[in-house]
Amino acid sequence: MRSRYFTALAVAALLGSGMLVFAKPPAGSGSITGKVTYTGTPPKMKPIDMSKEPSCAKQHATPVLTENVATGPGSALQWVVVYISAGDQGSTAPSQAVRYDQKGCQYLPHVLPMQVNQGLQIYNDDQTSHNIHPLSKVNAEWNKSQPPGSPPIDTKYDKPEFIPVKCNIHPWMHGYFIVLNTSHYAVSGEDGSFDIKGLPPGKYTVTAWQEQYPAQSQEVTISGSEAKTANFVFKVLPY
């Protein structure tokens, strides 16, 4: 009787550990790299007139340009968030918070990806007051003043969402918080390239999000530790 009881326990423990392995596969070594480009004529990015805020204007030798369709050489498209929308979602939010800066009356970076429940620290590095106003719809909307020298605002978002961010005092300031479920994401650089690493074998839907144009998706299957390529082309319009 007793030995049977122990056998049952041992079997249960084995099963349990087996399930654990299934539920949490080790971080893979596959990757998806690629380049985001555009076809068509992109809208001309406009120089921002910061003369109403001299403390910011003097930080920029040449006027800053708007960034809603930021392009680079070779038809590269910058600030595109490429992420795994279906497939292995990786790990939960790291304890390291992401940092968002208000500097020279600009948001740095323009597009900030983060994970659900990951810490977000917002700094005001300027000599002027900003009000930081993320226009969330799924998450609770808030709006806080942050005068110069204030401590960073510590916050986080608990639902995935693409959130436009604005400062009502300086209406040209415009950025995005990208709150994702997955830990597999990247933002395209000035050359349009991105690199999503650490993917275990499996089937994936890779989605590319740009603030002005419709998002695109591709199916990618990774077996072993291979490096797959996925390129995205956005059709842009000059207006």
Partner: protein
Amino acid sequence: MTLKKLAVTFALGSMALVTVGASSMFAQSHVNSPDPSLGAPSVASEESHIGNVTGHAEEGKRLYRRFCIGCHGPDGNGQGMNAQWIDPKPRDFTEATFKCRSTPTGTLPTDDDLYNAITRGFVTTNMPSWAPLTPQQRADLVAFVKTWSPRWTKGKPGAPLNIPPETPITIESILHGRELFQKLECWKCHGPEGHGDGPSAITLTDDKGNPIRPYDFSSGSRFMCGTSNQDLYRIFMTGLDGSPMPSFADVVKPAEAWDLVHFLRTLQPLKTPEADLWMTYKAAHGSDLKPIGPDAAPGGK
């Protein structure tokens, strides 16, 4: 005509009147709401608690149909038939974002906040005071308004702001408040004289992208969310969610907040203790005061 005949005529007449009344009511609700379900989920279960009055959403739904639907719409999204003529736009209850709260920015308001908003109405908007409705009716409406967003079932209202007792009204307090008005850059939107004509005023939009004006302190005695010094304190500490007005709760200490209240009172065309003190001070020292605006901005030159 006998007395009996008279009574019959009267009875018939009043029946006819009732019928006409009822059919016109039906006609109205049909025009306003083609969908009798009225969009809102879980109507029966939602309640509100205002003092010892308990509001019921089921009752509130009937009242909403009668009084609110024209502007706030059959789907509670602020797109009623009248909305196109209204500026600022009626509140979209499906977002559960409210301007007048006693709770921190980004949190739900309390039942009392909603009740007070319905009772008070919003000055400079099309939302009138609904004080003519009974307290029970207003409580019922609060309960129904909470059925439009799932945020009410998933979350709770924030903790109401603790407002410490008001500090004495002194010229030092007013002057410090004036410094804050400059330093916090209230003037960027509200203007150096509080006329709502600051450099950023013209660019302001609400969270739906509709143009919105900052408050003009010279326009009268009432604010968006009340009339008292406590109301004024609460407005800038909690912010008006969904509008460009941010919360200053993290950056203004309670005592400083009262200083700002005292200064803001001097911007109004009212005979208040603050205004009296300020006029006397300005008459004597007006030329020493640095004007509010970009020249005095900490980062400006």
